[in-house]
């Protein structure tokens, strides 16, 4: 059932107040009256009204001044200005100040009904919009990031806590771990979610192209610049800019970027007009930026400017327990996109995947599943559909120690670092396992 619309009538004439009150009350509205603007503003401080019908000429504060004050309190308030002496100037002024409508007294009963009906429609649109926004925001959650492991839960917690702020975030992690998804989740859960998230793949562009891409260019700035073009910073106004592969940018661009991040102002290539943009920066890298700073390859000041918050996305081999979930997710995703029934995976194939180290992380796993669905028999995913089998047979160039370390870590992660169970699985005694953990410097992910 629709809720009752509330109306506040502000008029110094008692007969106007009463007759409007009687009229609206018969329509089933919740109605309140105030004899002057001051009283109306006092009422509005404690109660909220959907529609405010106000006379222009009142002793003390007039209707137009009251309109301005109401709008400063509640910008989406619906205020209808009434007057017995209509002039174009006051009408224009009222509408400029945000009045919903401007009517001359007396009006036809039908016009009054239409007016209130239109205002009610506007209110329900505003409310509907709010509900839809809430629905959209609940859709834009971190569902695309799959993982029940403790390491991923920590990532979710970090996303939630940084999303509401405007702090710069560096997302680190190996290639294919889902850094861009983390960036999207931060943006989708932030107050900037209704504005664009603009992604720039810094590694894919040369220095001059990146400059033009980020800052835009003016017509004639260089050969081929036949139009003015907005840069990514400009496009990300009120939203988020995601700079992927940040470690690959040149020293010159690092200086430029630092200046933009500090001032939020820049000039288009070939232009002279300073443009300002309100954006939030998220960046990602698969390299160790700190060691790059130590080696002088990345500016220290830029590093600290970007690294307000660091979110590390763990590699898949450190969260083996998420592999079955990811397999299930990608099977469903690709079967649905290929219009095929969702198929199961053979236990042997799943076991083999769980034992695999996935150097290409989730991207590799995703591709593997997609391929298996394409080449498979369409009934279930079998071991022979997985390309990693061949890879397994390839000779490894890693040392025995490296392999041992990797295997122990895998087992430990699989059994949630339960030493007794892991030792049993490895056919070692607990002391030996402790010694190996110490030797290889293995640590339990937080």
């Amino acid at each position: 059932m629709a809720r009752k619309i509330s109306i506040l009538i502000v008029d110094d004439e008692e007969s106007v107040r009463d007759s409007l009150y009687n009229w609206f009350i018969e329509d089933g509205y919740h109605v309140e009256c105030a004899e002057n603007a001051k009283k109306a503003l006092t009422i509005l401080q404690s109660d909220s009204y959907d529609i405010i019908l106000a006379d222009i000429k009142m002793p003390g504060m007039d209707g137009l001044e009251m309109l301005k004050r109401i709008k400063s309190l509640k910008s989406d308030a619906i205020v209808i200005i009434m007057t017995a002496f209509a002039t174009v100037d006051t009408a224009v002024q009222a509408l400029k100040d945000g009045a919903f409508d401007y009517v001359t007294k007396p009006f036809d009963p039908d016009d009054l009904s239409h007016l209130i009906r239109n205002a009610s429609k506007q209110i329900s649109l505003i409310e509907e919009n709010e509900i839809l926004k809430d629905k959209v925001s609940s859709l834009e959650n971190v569902e695309d990031i799959i993982g029940h492991s403790e390491a991923m839960q920590e990532v979710f917690r970090q996303i939630e806590s940084v999303a509401q702020s405007t702090a710069s975030v560096i997302i680190t992690g190996e290639s294919g771990t889902g850094k861009e998804l983390v960036a999207k989740a931060i943006h989708s859960n932030s107050p900037r979610k209704f504005f664009p998230m603009v992604s720039v793949h810094c590694g894919a562009l040369t220095e001059s192209l990146l400059e033009s891409e980020l800052f835009g260019h003016e017509k004639g700035a260089f050969t081929g610049a036949i139009y003015n073009r907005k840069g990514r910073f400009e496009m990300a106004d009120s939203g988020t800019i995601f700079l992927d592969e940040i470690a690959t940018i040149s020293p010159k661009m690092q200086v430029e970027l630092l200046r933009v991040l500090e001032t939020k102002c820049f000039v288009r290539v070939g232009g002279n007009k300073e443009i300002s943009s309100d954006f939030r920066v998220l960046c990602a890298t698969n390299r160790d930026l700190k060691s790059m700073v130590e080696k002088g390859l990345f500016r220290e000041d830029l590093y600290y400017r970007l690294n307000v918050v660091n979110i590390h996305v763990p590699p898949l081999r450190n969260r083996v327990e998420d592999i079955p979930l990811l397999i299930e997710y990608f099977i469903k995703k690709y079967c649905l996109s290929m219009n095929r029934p969702v198929m199961p995976i053979e236990p042997a194939a799943q076991q083999r995947m769980e034992q695999y180290s996935f150097p290409g992380n989730i991207r590799e796993l995703e591709n593997m599943i997609e391929r298996a669905i394409v080449v498979g028999n369409g009934k279930k995913i079998q071991l022979r559909d997985l390309p990693l089998i061949k890879e397994k047979s390839n000779p490894s160039f890693e040392s025995l120690d490296d392999l041992g370390k990797k295997h122990i870590l895998q087992i430990l992660n699989k059994y949630s670092w339960n030493i007794t169970v892991s030792a049993k699985a490895l056919k070692l005694d607990r002391v030996t396992l402790y010694n190996k953990i110490k030797k290889y410097g293995l640590t339990q992910p937080k």
Partner: protein
């Protein structure tokens, strides 16, 4: 308060037998005895020369104060053009859940709109208007049911579209209200 009767007071000239034609239907609709009588009021006090209409807001107050003391629900019936300060005209008005209301036959006549006189249509319209305003005094608000007599009518043609009866929802509401009031 004991709800015992409804009184229709006519102020000014009404065609012979017109009120009698309305009374039966009002009694049937509210299941209460309806009395009629003539009222005397100097309407010139309520005339607004600038609008050339009669002030319905003040007339309603007058009926409530001086004509509703010995009855449960009173409706003043007029044959003049009524207005309230904010609106160009009204067919009638009543205090929601109050004891008084007013209704005018003036704008219900076809002749006002340049159409041929239709006595039957006029009685129908007046009957609906009387039941509608009395409905407000029983606490009924405007109804969205297109055939319900409590549907809001801003044009005379709107009155023709609706029925002279309360819809089931309004009837239910009426029985709740009368139980509360008795």
């Amino acid at each position: 308060m004991n709800l015992e009767n409804v009184t229709l007071i006519s102020f000014g000239y009404f065609e012979k037998g017109l009120l009698d034609k309305v009374v039966k239907d009002v009694e049937h609709e509210f299941l209460l005895p309806v009395k009629t009588r003539e009222g005397h009021l100097d309407l010139s006090h309520f005339f607004d020369p600038s609008r050339r209409q009669y002030d319905g807001y003040r007339l309603l107050k007058e009926i409530d104060l001086y004509f509703s003391n010995d009855t449960d629900k009173t409706l003043g019936l007029f044959n003049v053009d009524l207005f309230i300060p904010i609106l160009t005209y009204i067919f009638g008005q009543a205090y929601l859940n109050g004891r008084a209301g007013i209704a005018s036959i003036y704008r219900l006549r076809n002749e006002r709109y340049g159409i041929f006189k239709d006595e039957k249509l006029l009685v129908n319209r007046f009957r609906k208007e009387v039941i509608h305003e009395l409905g407000h005094t029983f606490g009924l608000i405007h109804c969205y049911n297109p055939t319900c007599v409590m549907r809001s009518s801003t044009y005379v043609e709107d009155i023709d579209q609706k029925d002279q009866h309360l819809c089931l929802k309004c009837r239910e509401q009426l029985s709740i209200q009368t139980t509360i009031q008795t």
